[in-house]
């Protein structure tokens, strides 16, 4: 039996898959028609029943989130789609939107109807010009076709380079025209989100999953996946593998299975470490090849499913260098609001730079871990927490490698060996 189950990706191989013609040809905009004829509460119930959980990382049940929106409050409600895909390793929404922007638009129509929103926004990161073009055109075409504009307005909002805007309250501040810094919660967006009105913020993949659920029913969706992680999802394989790419499969597939399907680690090399869901999720090693990649399975193994960004590194990769680079990323992307994240990432980078250069002593590792302890759970939002994940997990699995740097007084790895064009440049 096939391990893969293309639903979102089912028609991506058609040359014109991104056009409204192709989408309609493949049955698009039927689900929204069906949903609009349903009572909004019934739509919410259906999505609840399907077991769909947020694909942005936290895995919160989507239908339940929709159900939090107060009804009959005579206030405007808003739907905001988080398309600010920026977590290192994460590359699922971008290809989805390039290949099929209409499925997101249709999902927006259904979700807006369910939560009684007349206005929806897609907040997309700004560093993807062509994706912006495709989405913008798709929205125009959906307006022309009458799918939008008859009670539901959809606005594309383009970001400008800030990872933190993937955090939902920072995203809302950014969308309101402020610096994208996280807000205090409570109030939660369901009560006071965009413009202080009840707001649902969902990931692209979550919303894009909705039309098929409406079309095929909750039971169909429920039948896929594992006990508490239902349906299919996009796994993004990258790094030192023979064939990187997108793999849509029911939740619960393992990395071993994906590697077997796709051809495995690049020739002559072996798996060293990997991220299950982006750089903010604690690292895994070869011992985790059989961990079911669903919310519970990954969590039980000490990490998080996150965005299912499977970044694979082989034995040529220096883990200290990898972690340093991620830490530099967190320092660059820290919004600056809270002390632990702002100052902590600044300091972490300096310590890690020294360690990568073989400077320091084992006591610095203890200091590094203590510093992580002072950042983790002390920061305003999860960015600070995420910054500590690669550090603490890498020291857990590769302490000797850190010490080897100190013993040698330099990095023991040849950076050329880990490049894709190793050999080509030789």
């Amino acid at each position: 039996m096939t391990k893969l189950a293309p639903v979102l990706s089912a028609h991506w191989d058609e040359k014109d898959s991104f056009t409204i013609e192709a989408y309609t040809r493949n049955g698009g905009y039927k689900a929204s028609k069906k949903a609009l004829a349903m009572d909004p509460d019934a739509v919410i119930q259906l999505v609840k029943d399907s077991g769909l959980r947020g694909r942005g990382g936290a895995g919160f049940p989507t239908g339940m989130k929709w159900g939090f929106i107060p009804q009959g409050d005579n206030k405007e409600h808003y739907l905001v789609v988080n398309a600010d895909e920026s977590e290192p390793g994460t590359c699922k929404d971008t290809p989805l939107l390039l290949a099929n922007p209409h499925v997101l638009i249709e999902g927006c129509i259904i979700a807006s109807h369910a939560i009684r929103a007349k206005h929806a926004f897609i907040y997309i990161r700004g560093e993807v010009t062509h994706v912006v073009r495709r989405l913008n055109q798709a929205i125009e075409d959906a307006y022309k076709a009458g799918h939008l504009g008859n009670g539901i307005e959809l606005v594309l909002h383009v970001g400008a380079g800030a990872y933190i805007c993937g955090e939902e309250t920072a995203l809302l501040d950014s969308l309101e025209g402020f610096r994208g810094q996280p807000r205090l919660r409570p109030p939660f967006p369901a009560i006071a989100g965009l413009y202080a009105r009840p707001t649902v913020v969902n990931n692209v993949e979550s919303i894009a999953s909705v039309p098929a659920i409406i079309e095929n029913g909750a039971e169909w969706y429920q039948a896929m996946g594992t006990e508490k992680s239902k349906g299919t999802t996009l796994y993004s394989l990258s790094g030192h593998v023979k064939n990187p790419g997108q793999f849509e499969a029911p939740l619960g597939i393992t990395l071993r299975e994906i590697l077997e399907l796709s051809g495995g680690i690049r020739n002559g090399h072996s798996l060293k470490f990997w991220t299950p869901g982006g750089s903010s999720t604690p690292l895994f090693t070869a011992e985790h090849l059989d961990v079911p990649l669903d919310y519970e399975g990954v969590s039980a193994a000490g990490s998080m499913l996150g965005t299912k960004a499977l970044q694979i590194f082989d034995e040529t990769t220096c883990v200290v260098r990898a972690v340093l680079r991620w830490t530099e990323f967190y320092k660059h992307e820290s919004c600056g609001k809270c002390t632990p994240c702002r100052e902590g990432t600044w300091w972490l980078v300096q310590i890690l730079r020294d360690l990568e250069n073989g400077k320091g002593t084992e006591a610095d590792l203890a200091k590094l871990l203590d510093l992580c302890d002072n950042i983790m759970g002390r920061s305003f939002c999860a960015l600070g927490d995420g910054a500590t994940s690669p550090i603490t997990s890498s020291i857990k699995y590769f302490r000797e490698e850190y010490i080897a740097h100190l013993t040698l007084g330099a990095c023991p790895f040849d950076p050329v060996a880990s490049t894709l064009f190793e050999g080509a440049s030789k």
């Binding site: 800030a162 205090l184 320092k331 820290s334 632990p340 600044w346 002072n374 305003f380």
Partner: protein, 783 residues
């Protein structure tokens, strides 16, 4: 009186102690109630919680459910069944706090020895209580260019900043002047301005005061002193009628800085930059130190006190005399002038209104203001506030802050009846009712108010005939409360003290025989003059016509009146006894000059616009300068008509023992509005107000402060600009028969018939240059 019962109380346990606090209280403040100090930086009780610095982390559980990680106690309201463990009882909280402190210090320079904040620095103090002695940081600290001027008055040292965002939140949430913002991101985040727009807020000093480190400093105090060398005295602001509680810090007899005091019912913890940074006048002005008497040759020469007092007494005894006292006298001094006029001079010819005024106003004050009890609290509770001839941000800045608070917190509706839309009203998103200067009264009749509404009426209302009558009518028909808000700190006190021709102390009408008997008895006098006295204008006229021969003048600038030429002539003509702190146009023409103490050198009180006493002690103790009332008392003794006011305390006691008049108030005879003049194409009606920062005498010597004042411009409407062919920035000349001013034009929201210019700013001193300031027809032309 049921308000206490209406507040729901919540019980919780902090570090093992139970405490009950009102619902909505934040954990950090519930802990304060128990005397438990949780360290903090970004937290400020008057700013919205932000939870940014993370210094106040504590462990919390609610009904047995523990939060998985420590929580910022400055952002979490108490809940029933909450158990809080602070650094005192939780190892996790203690380590979390120590960890955050270490991170805050990683990039903080060790320049405490040269930092102004050293010795009173929350970071320094909390690093001692919460930090560790040794740093583990071996890296490179973040550096920035050393202090940069974000205005001529405020300097920013970004290296010291802990990014608590108190200053930026103050500017946005309290002052509505978001000229400073957090810029950049992450470790490079910093407070900053837009490069072409300095931090020129009237309230910028508060940002300096609430900075928990030495990142923001005021130019006037920077590098001047160490906190522990200063002697602090609680004081009251003498600049305006808002009534700010203040603290004056003095070293070796010299005021080095003034800070906003904490009075929740008045200024909360704020003040304006004038109150904070305009104090050098005390030393900057060429102070008078010795009495002077005009000799036989007509030259003022120094004299001993006995000689000067004798000369004053003789001159006053020999003439029919009157009293002009400016609006800056303390309540006690004003009482001294009031009693001196009645007992020593036997006259009701006294007026504290050394400014444009009217008899309609005098009657309005006696009928609707004296003894009135409208307060800031009424603004807090108002359903609507109507501004009449009053620009709160310019003329009583704390009233503006209070209005702004109500606007931001509960969308208070503010309506302004004015000729020009002001920056302040714009910030309040006020409903601007545009009227021609002089036509304000007509606009009042269309206002719908309730008995929850408040009418804030400024002293400029006296400049439009019929306006105060219309205010009284509207208040009567709607039940709305009236608050009269003069500009100067002493005017309300002077009114209550009877330093005006129609009132005796305590609001007693001169025209009421029983009221006169009351005071006569208290003063052990046979009787008091029974006729209402002359007003200031009439007094000047009477001098010039010869029916008054002598004047006692205290704290009056003759140029504050429209008829400055007549005033100067009168001062030349009369026998003048001048009580002053510095040489002025009055002392130059006086026969006897008696130096008096400045506010910081004496004790006393002001009554703010609410009528609330604002008492203060001498901040500078070792001068020999005497208060006005002490000197008046000595003159009276010399005249053999004692007023027995040897000390401020004696005056205060006497005022208290007199009590308030509980009889009928005198009536206001309604005045009707003047007809609007018809204009030729080159004519406009002038209007103006004094800006907060201008050429006011008490701002002398404050160049940094003056540099933050608003640009001097002449404002005309787009329609008039079109007809004159004037664009923004072109020069515009406003002229009368007396003279002219030429200013850069600003085209904006103003009545088409009007032209506006600041009343007393550099290049625009309307009363002396044009002789008019409101309601008069002037010529306007492109220069």
């Amino acid at each position: 009186m049921t308000t206490m019962q209406e507040v729901e109380m919540i019980s919780l346990v902090i570090d093992g102690f139970e405490v009950s606090v009102p619902k909505g209280t934040l954990v950090i403040r519930a802990a304060e109630k128990l005397g438990i100090q949780i360290p903090r930086f970004c937290d400020h009780p008057l700013l919205d919680p932000v939870g940014a610095c993370r210094q106040c982390l504590v462990d919390i559980e609610i009904n047995g459910r523990a939060f998985p990680k420590p929580q910022a106690s400055c952002t979490i309201p108490v809940e029933p069944g909450m158990i809080v463990k602070t650094q005192l009882t939780s190892a996790v909280a203690e380590k979390a706090q120590r960890g955050v402190m270490e991170l805050l210090l990683v990039n903080h320079p060790l320049d405490c020895p040269v930092c102004d904040k050293g010795g009173e620095c929350p970071l320094q103090n909390q690093a001692m209580s919460t930090g560790q002695g040794e740093t583990r940081f071996e890296g490179v600290k973040r550096t920035f260019q050393k202090p940069i001027n974000i205005s001529s008055q405020v300097l920013l040292d970004r290296e010291r900043c802990v990014l608590c965002a108190r200053c930026t939140r103050f500017s946005e949430q309290i002052a509505s002047d978001p000229f400073i913002t957090l810029n950049e991101r992450g470790a490079l985040q910093q407070v900053g301005i837009y490069e072409n727009q300095p931090f020129e807020s009237y309230f910028s000093g508060n940002a300096v005061q609430i900075c928990p480190v030495g990142a923001l400093t005021g130019a006037s105090y920077r590098f001047r002193a160490r906190p522990f060398d200063l002697v602090s005295t609680p004081s009251a602001c003498e600049h305006c009628a808002s009534g700010c509680d203040m603290r004056t810090d003095v070293r070796r007899g010299k005021t080095l800085r003034r800070l906003a005091g904490d009075d929740a019912s008045v200024n909360e913890e704020w003040n304006c930059d004038k109150g904070r940074w305009a104090f050098k006048y005390v030393t900057a002005l060429d102070r008078l130190t010795t009495p002077m008497v005009r000799n036989a040759d007509g030259v003022l020469v120094e004299a001993s006190w006995p000689v000067a007092l004798a000369a004053a007494a003789a001159g006053l005894a020999a003439n029919k005399s009157a009293v002009l006292v400016g609006g800056r006298a303390t309540y006690e001094d004003a009482y001294g002038y009031s009693k001196f006029a009645r007992l020593a001079l036997g006259t009701n010819d006294i007026d504290f209104r050394a400014r444009l005024s009217s008899d309609e106003e005098r009657e309005f004050l006696a009928a609707h203001v004296v003894g009135s009890t409208t307060t800031y609290r009424d603004i807090d509770l108002a359903d609507q506030v109507l501004l009449v001839a009053f620009e709160p941000e310019e003329e009583s800045p704390i009233v503006f802050l209070r209005l702004n608070k109500a606007f931001r917190k509960r969308a208070l509706k503010v309506t302004a009846i004015a000729t020009k839309l002001s920056i302040g009203v714009e910030k309040l998103k006020g409903n601007f009712i545009k009227v021609a200067p002089g036509a304000e009264a007509n606009a009042l009749s269309s206002q719908t108010l309730t008995n929850k509404s408040v009418i804030l009426v400024g002293e400029r209302a006296a400049e439009s005939a019929g306006l105060l009558s219309a205010v009284a009518t509207l208040a009567q028909s709607s039940g709305a409360k009236i608050a009269w808000i003069p500009r100067r700190a002493g005017e309300r006190g002077a009114l209550e003290a009877g330093a005006i021709g129609n009132l005796l102390p305590g609001g007693r009408p001169v025209s009421d025989a029983a009221a006169r008997v009351d005071i006569a008895a208290a003063w052990s006098a046979q009787s008091l003059p029974a006729e209402n006295g002359l007003n200031a204008t009439q007094i000047i006229a009477a001098v010039n016509s010869g029916s008054i021969g002598a004047l006692v003048v205290g704290g009056v600038d003759p140029l504050d009146n429209a008829e400055s030429a007549q005033t100067l002539a009168a001062l030349e003509k009369a026998f003048v006894v001048s009580l002053e702190i510095a040489p002025s146009a009055v002392t130059a023409r006086a026969n006897v000059v008696l130096p008096v103490a400045a506010v910081t050198e004496k004790s006393g009180s002001f009554l703010n616009w609410e009528g609330r006493p604002r008492a203060f002690d001498a901040a500078v103790a070792d001068t020999h300068n005497r208060s006005d009332l002490r000197i008046l008392s000595m003159i009276a003794d010399e005249m053999g008509r004692t007023i027995s006011l040897a000390t401020v305390t004696a005056a205060a006691k006497e005022i208290a023992s007199l009590g308030r008049w509980d009889g009928a108030k005198s009536a206001l005879n309604n005045v009707s509005a003047a007809a609007t003049p018809s204009l030729l194409p080159d004519q406009a009606i002038i209007t103006s107000w004094r800006r907060l920062l201008d050429l006011g005498t008490l701002q002398a010597g404050e160049e940094n402060l003056a540099a933050t004042s608003r640009r001097t411009v002449a404002v005309i409407s787009p329609k008039r600009a079109d007809s004159l062919g004037v664009k923004d920035g072109d020069r515009l000349t406003i002229s009368t028969q007396l003279g002219s001013v030429t200013l850069p034009a600003l085209v904006e929201e103003i009545h088409d018939d009007a032209v506006w210019a600041p009343r007393n700013s550099r290049g625009s001193e309307l009363l002396s240059q044009l002789g008019v300031a409101h309601g008069a027809v002037v010529k306007v032309a492109k220069a």
